[in-house]
């Protein structure tokens, strides 16, 4: 277990056809291009010629979180990170609001992650690909959540 401040710079040595999207039920070897409406996936564009900063920023929060939990494990014992992870998973499991209605409220998650008194670019520029008119529809989300 390592204590990292900066996300690791490793590129994956192999990718699946389903690495960049949810698998489709009718064609489990591919990602669901009908649902995502993106068209056939261009894997090369997802792997090559990416900004060097993109992977760093995308993994920053996760890396900081992991380091924090690792230090808690070393100082307080294995129970601390397990308990904190459990609390976060409880929030994820119990908070459900469809993306079409705005997505789950982040208050509980913010308090647990100690982000309730901070603002970052994610709060200003909320869009991603799944925002605006590209929001996941309710049925897809419910199916995924329930596990159909």
């Amino acid at each position: 277990m390592s204590l990292r401040i900066v996300p690791e710079n490793n590129k994956t040595s192999s990718v699946n056809t389903t690495t960049f999207g949810q698998a489709a039920e009718h064609a489990p070897g591919l990602q669901d291009i009908l649902r995502t409406q993106e068209g056939p996936l261009n894997m090369a564009s997802k792997l090559n010629n990416r900004h060097p900063l993109e992977a760093r920023i995308a993994n920053w929060e996760q890396t900081q979180h992991d380091t924090r939990l690792e230090t808690y494990r070393r100082v307080f014992g294995a129970g601390e990170p397990i308990k904190r992870t459990m609390e976060l998973e409880i929030v994820d499991a119990t908070d459900f609001k469809p993306s079409v209605l705005g997505g789950p409220d982040s208050m509980h998650r913010d308090i647990l992650m100690n982000k309730d008194t901070t603002v970052d670019w994610e709060d200003v520029y909320k869009g991603g690909f799944e925002s605006g008119i590209n929001v996941k529809d309710f049925h897809t989300e419910m199916e995924r959540k329930v596990g159909i």
Binding site: E54, T117, W121, E122, V124
Partner: protein
């Protein structure tokens, strides 16, 4: 992805290969200085913003407020300094409210430094942060990659060498407020005259322990545009209308086209 988006990076790289280079971001060429005096700190900046060789803004504001008594001067990419400053100002305010304490300059500095380090210098924000807080007066600076400095006098920006020359010559410990204001204004003026990236006016901000911060917008205006030598208005009757001709460019023809069938066909 939420947050600052990298979506257009590949498209821009492709366009560059085809000959359409990325537009030059507005930069603050800039001279910014900060100087401590007995019981407080002064920061000053020029007011020119450049986009390549063109002056984009003749009177822009480079002194940003992080907290009522903590101000920062920004050099580098104008948008980056502005946005990063506003983000950290919001965070400072939230932090101060949740801790129920006056915000501290080192808190602002740490937030800025951690944020800029995360973006590895791609956010081109070079800032001089100064202010007063319950621990006293502070003068600090941050570079775009996240390194910080503490000092009694600092200068940043393209005119920093010109300004530093003035500061090194005339700085002394425990100056009065007026002496410090004069020194900073002189240092900025040196940058205005001797550096192409700096110009126009001098802005100044004084933060004294126990008092409110004072912002002196356009404290010095050594570059007022002079009045034109002659009047260039045309006298009435200089030209009368000599000839008029109107040419119709478009000939509009309207015809009604009927689609087959009487009623509207829903399923053809």
């Amino acid at each position: 992805m939420p947050g600052l988006s990298f979506d257009n990076y590949q498209r821009n790289a492709y366009l560059t290969t085809k000959g359409y280079g990325t537009p030059k971001a507005t930069s603050t060429g800039t001279t910014i200085v900060g100087c401590k005096f007995k019981g407080g700190v002064v920061i000053a900046a020029d007011t020119r913003a450049t986009a390549g060789p063109i002056v984009a803004d003749k009177n822009c504001e480079k002194l940003h407020r992080l907290a009522p008594k903590i101000w920062c001067a920004g050099a580098g990419t104008a948008a980056d300094t502005e946005m990063v400053t506003q983000l950290i100002a919001s965070n400072l305010e939230l932090h101060a409210l949740s801790q129920d304490r006056q915000p501290r300059v080192i808190t602002a500095l740490t937030m800025l430094k951690q944020h800029l380090f995360k973006y590895q210098g791609h956010l081109g924000a070079y800032l001089i942060v100064a202010g007063v807080d319950p621990t006293g007066a502070h003068l600090l600076s941050v570079q775009a990659h996240g390194s910080t400095d503490i000092g009694k006098y600092q200068s940043l920006g393209s005119g920093s060498l010109a300004a530093m020359a003035v500061l090194e010559t005339h700085f002394k410990e425990d100056m009065t407020k007026e002496e410090a204001m004069k020194l900073c204004a002189d240092a900025i003026e040196s940058g205005i005259w001797n550096d192409l990236g700096s110009g126009s006016n001098v802005d100044l901000c004084v933060m004294e322990v126990g008092k409110d911060a004072e912002l002196h917008r356009n404290y010095l205006t050594p570059n007022v545009r002079s009045e034109k030598a002659r009047s260039y208005k045309f006298a009435r009757g200089t030209t009368a209308v000599l000839r008029e001709s109107v040419r119709e460019i478009l000939d509009v023809e309207e015809t009604v086209i009927t689609f087959g069938g009487d009623a509207m066909e829903v399923d053809a």
